[in-house]
Amino acid sequence: MITASPPVKETKNYLNNEKGIKSWLLTGDHKRIAILYLISVTAFFALGGVFASLIRLELATPAGDLLESNQYNKVFTMHGILMVFFFLIPSIPATLGNFLIPMMIGAKDLAFPKINLLSWYIYIVGGIFTLYVLLTGGVDTGWTFYTPFSTSYSNGYVIAAGLGIFINGFSSILTGLNFIVTIHRMRAPGLTWFRLPLFVWAHYATSAIMILGTPVVAVTLFLVVLERGFHIGFFDPAYGGDPVLFQHLFWFYSHPAVYIMILPSMGVISEVISTFSSKKPFGYTFIAFSSVAIAVFGFLVWGHHLFVAGQSIYAGLVFSVLSYIVAIPSAIKVFNWAATMYKGQVRLETPMLYALGFIGLFTVGGLTGIFLSSLGMDVHLTDTYFVVAHFHYVMVGGALLGYLAGIHFWWPKIFGRMYSSVWSKVSAALVFVGFNLTFFPQFLLGYMGMPRRYHVYPPEFQVFNVLSSAGASVLALGLILPAIYLTWSLKHGEIASANPWGATGLEWQTASPPITENFEVTPVVTTEAYDYSTQQEVVHVG
């Protein structure tokens, strides 16, 4: 299907209007910064993936024969840190969000372009710290840095790792700040809040969490660094410090952080489902407000990570009931997506396949979260592989599939090229099958009682672990394929039109790839959101 398209006259766009490394490294253009992020985020994802495969290889056998104990601990810590802080949190907001939000609201750029570039540089500096930790010996505290192990007993590079994440936190703070001000103050004339695409609503809620949560983990990790350096006694029981206080401060951010990871994906899914059903999303206001509700309620539930940690049972009671309430907006979203397809004209293009995969897997991930919110069940399940399976269903099945759906949906707009739809569908199927084979057995392992972060395990758990490792290889293959056919499409992909999928939204009304100013003239919005009736005939059939 890949036809080497004839070299068309190069129109002026944001990619070719300036050349040279300086034009990329000192750019103020939100689109170029998005591509800088795209490259760095993908690099960190690949690195995190390498550690993931190391873990799965190690766990194929009950005895620890591939890695030593502390090597394994450093590997799963690096996998955690790289995936959480350097891929899942920045992935969609910094790449797709940076690229699309100004275009979706008809603006020329974000409110503070220089701060946007600063955010990328801070992300790179944080990454350098983490790579330094990786190259000089690694850190073995887990991505959660629980004290007093991280402050007094770990002999890994905790200070450098803590500073790396501390610095990286400011990158997402600045991105959040930029989005909030842009969405509030730079919308095109006529673009009221309820005409905004749901992608923008989701990023508005995500930015609120970034702003309100990230500083708390910044100060927490700063205190861990201080404690490890100067023994200030905050979290050290020898001085009367309380390790559970660290867990409160850490999870106050880290639970909303999982909503930072999933909300942007939900925004992408709302767009993709609506476009490929050629229908206005079902219950637009409910989906929009459920994003905000998730952001607000997300801050009230962090105690469900501390049910067995020595937290008082009365506090546990409150956190448990609030954790059930925060699950409702997610349920509303899932049902609304399904209802959007009702009476639509569904086209199963690659983004739609990823979106349907998202809905299926995110539902399972969300429902297993309900298991862990109940006090009695959490006592048995916490810190076992059930939790590992739960958050991978939500992170890989949810956030990663949302990211892939978004990349495949807006790729023509970003690079002006179409990718091979056959290969992309094959890779989507591989990802779906490989993912389920990897993580579903872990639910069963979890209930059997296999604890998390175990390098050696009793032989009766081996059957499920071997299944899981087999699935991991299929998933790895499924994730390598997009890297290949997407980069291939940059040179040899079919030239994309302005609106290849027949989508609504201001970003589809300008050229692909767009000019630096996004729009020749600032558009004025006069119609409701997702009005497919005014579309011209869909040009591209998959």
Binding site: R185, R187, V244, L245, F299, L300, L306, Q311, S312, I313
Partner: protein, 103 residues
């Protein structure tokens, strides 16, 4: 598309009035702390501090004359601070209720 942002110039006497109140409040709270109010001590000190802080926010930082959005952001920030402090302290306060260590 935004309600008018302030061009409104705050008269100088407002600044001096707020300044005088702040100074007075500082010395009041310092003096009050020497009186033994037992558990009330912290509430009195905190309410004075909150009053002083709101004076600074409203007048020195022009939030009183600012846009609705600015006021909303200020309130959201303070609300989330209280959220963090109150809910975390709920756990610390109720740790001994059950009478069973660690529960």
């Amino acid at each position: 598309m935004s309600d008018h942002s302030e061009h409104h110039i705050v008269p100088k006497r407002v600044y001096f009035a707020v300044f005088a109140t702040l100074i007075a409040m500082t010395w009041v709270t310092a003096w009050v702390s020497t009186v033994d109010l037992g558990r009330l001590n912290i509430f009195v000190a905190l309410s004075i501090a909150i009053f002083k802080a709101s004076l600074v926010i409203l007048f020195f930082m022009h939030v009183k004359y600012g846009t609705k959005l600015t006021k909303m952001i200020v309130l959201a920030g303070l609300y989330w601070l209280i959220l963090l402090l109150f809910i975390a302290m709920c756990d610390l306060w109720t740790r001994t209720w059950m009478g069973v260590p660690g529960r």
